[in-house]
Symmetry: C2
Subunit: 316 residues, 2 copies
């Protein structure tokens, strides 16, 4: 049996950790990571792709684990001067991180598509597996809140997710196309893994790019629940479920994605929900899904791969 | 007699030193500095105004005197990463300098004119006198050389002024306008001072913005020669004269500017040229015009001011 091929859909930190785990147990040619780019924005004239950077820095071993974003051993000389000059300081920019943004901004202005820029950055950082932006087109998540319509980073970083979410829109998505390689990677894949990223603002944008959901349907799809108990490990996913009128739980995640899922991987503490999830036509697999450290990432990835391989051999 | 009002036209290092000298001996409201912006360019997506930055950093006491460009106590963290990522490294970007470029780029993208951005930067750096870009419009010096047409920074920094100059063009200048305040400052001035900047690529662009030369004509205009003997202190001015078929000298400077000049300030070693310059209808004043240190700047500025005041009271 030839090695399986996998596609992982990822947002920021949770997605990056899961992708890093998968990279530990798979060969680079066995895995493509499709990354949400609807968080992308332009700040101080720089084109910033927060999720792509988090995924790439994490895969390169260059992410700052304690801070949860940006690069390790980072310095802040430009940012300190930015503050002195009275420029907006709500989005922190490390010196080496800035070089990434300058590279991306200049490359895009030269007419290179984001997928090519991402490939160049991965090559320079020694990331061997395929990291693909969901689209080369600019798509921007807008959050409609109790305090008006906010760009995603404005909501997420500047306003610290405080405003109550009423609705979410991915501006520009209807006319967007998957980046080159995305549909090809999905079609070639034996299984698709939804990393434990925010369903509303990380996985949904990827699935909403015309053609991607259709390419995934019928594949073996395993999602790792971003909700444990009624909480999320990081970010506003649980708060968003609640504000959308849905109690946050692994069951809510299963209902959110619906029958595109073959299996939902849930935490052991949520085993009580297995039966309800199964009645949706979705398998469950329970484990310790919290990734506390790098060893946890690899261990969880190995469980996922073994589960998928076992299921595939069972039906063959 | 009320205090005189002065306008200085300036390019990069020589212009900045002279402006700094004038700032030492004049009140801020007595001096406006109009700065060449035809060296401006976009690099790695950043809008860079080398002459404006050199003038502002120098006036703020933040310029690096030994290097001759950029800021003192500068660090290079972003630039080191830029090199690691394989981006162009022929134009060096210090960390704090980068913050200036980010501020300018973001402000311009928000629709602020360059003159407003410059005013904001001056305020933040504590520069009290008026520093005006010659124009808010993008004007770009192109150098036609033995090796083809080059953008100014490409010629000046990347190619180190090596290609032989055949012709110089200020692209976009015909349709440009003086920045707000420029004509007003010239009209209000008792005298205009051409700093010892490159006649070809620093002073000529300023004089070529429609309306500026006409506003200056008839004023008392004193130029400080950027040529001492047959050499320039810094930059390619002497080389440009030679390649244009004109032996570089203070006389060549006088002939270059012609009778817009009331007086050319020359170095003592060029006193032999006084008679020939005078026959052009241009006064001469000879002194030690080399600015070796900050004290030289103030001393030279004081001599200029006293010469102008003496001339004005003589004709009244």
């Amino acid at each position: 049996m030839a090695d399986f091929i996998y596609v992982a859909l990822a947002g920021g930190v949770g997605g990056a950790k899961m992708a890093h785990g998968l990279a530990q147990v798979l060969q680079p040619e066995q895995l493509a990571v499709v990354v949400n780019t609807a968080d992308d924005f332009t700040h101080l004239g720089l084109r910033i792709s927060p999720d792509l950077d988090t995924v790439c820095y994490t895969l390169a071993g260059e992410a700052d684990a304690s801070r949860g974003w940006g690069r390790k051993n980072e310095t802040w000389n430009v940012f300190n001067r930015i503050k002195q000059l009275g420029m907006p300081d709500w989005f922190q920019l490390g010196d080496a991180d800035l070089a990434t943004h300058l590279f991306r901004t200049a490359s895009l202005e030269q007419g290179k598509p984001l997928s090519q820029v991402t490939r160049d950055l991965c090559r320079m950082m020694g990331v061997a597996l395929q990291v693909l932006p969901m689209s080369d087109d600019l798509i921007q998540t807008h959050i409609f809140t109790s305090e008006g319509e906010l760009g995603f980073q404005e909501y997420f970083v500047h306003r610290k997710c405080n405003p109550e979410v009423k609705a979410i829109k991915f501006v520009g998505i209807e006319s967007s196309q998957p980046a080159p390689g995305v549909l090809e990677a999905i079609r070639a894949a034996d299984a698709v893994i939804f990393c434990p990223s925010n369903p509303w603002v990380s996985i949904d944008p990827i699935l909403s790019v015309p053609g991607i959901k259709k390419a995934i349907e019928g594949k073996f799809v395993l999602a790792v629940s971003p909700i444990i108990g009624s909480e999320t490990v990081k970010g506003p996913a649980a708060k968003m479920f609640a504000e959308m009128g849905i109690p946050a739980s692994a069951l809510a995640v299963a209902e959110h994605f619906g029958n595109i899922l073959t299996c939902l991987m849930i935490d052991k503490q949520d085993e009580v929900l297995q039966e309800k999830i199964n009645t949706l036509g979705i398998q469950t697999y329970s484990s310790d899904i919290l990734m506390r450290d790098e060893a946890d990432r690899g261990r969880l990835a190995m469980e996922i791969i073994e589960y998928i391989k076992g299921w595939e051999s069972a039906i063959q």
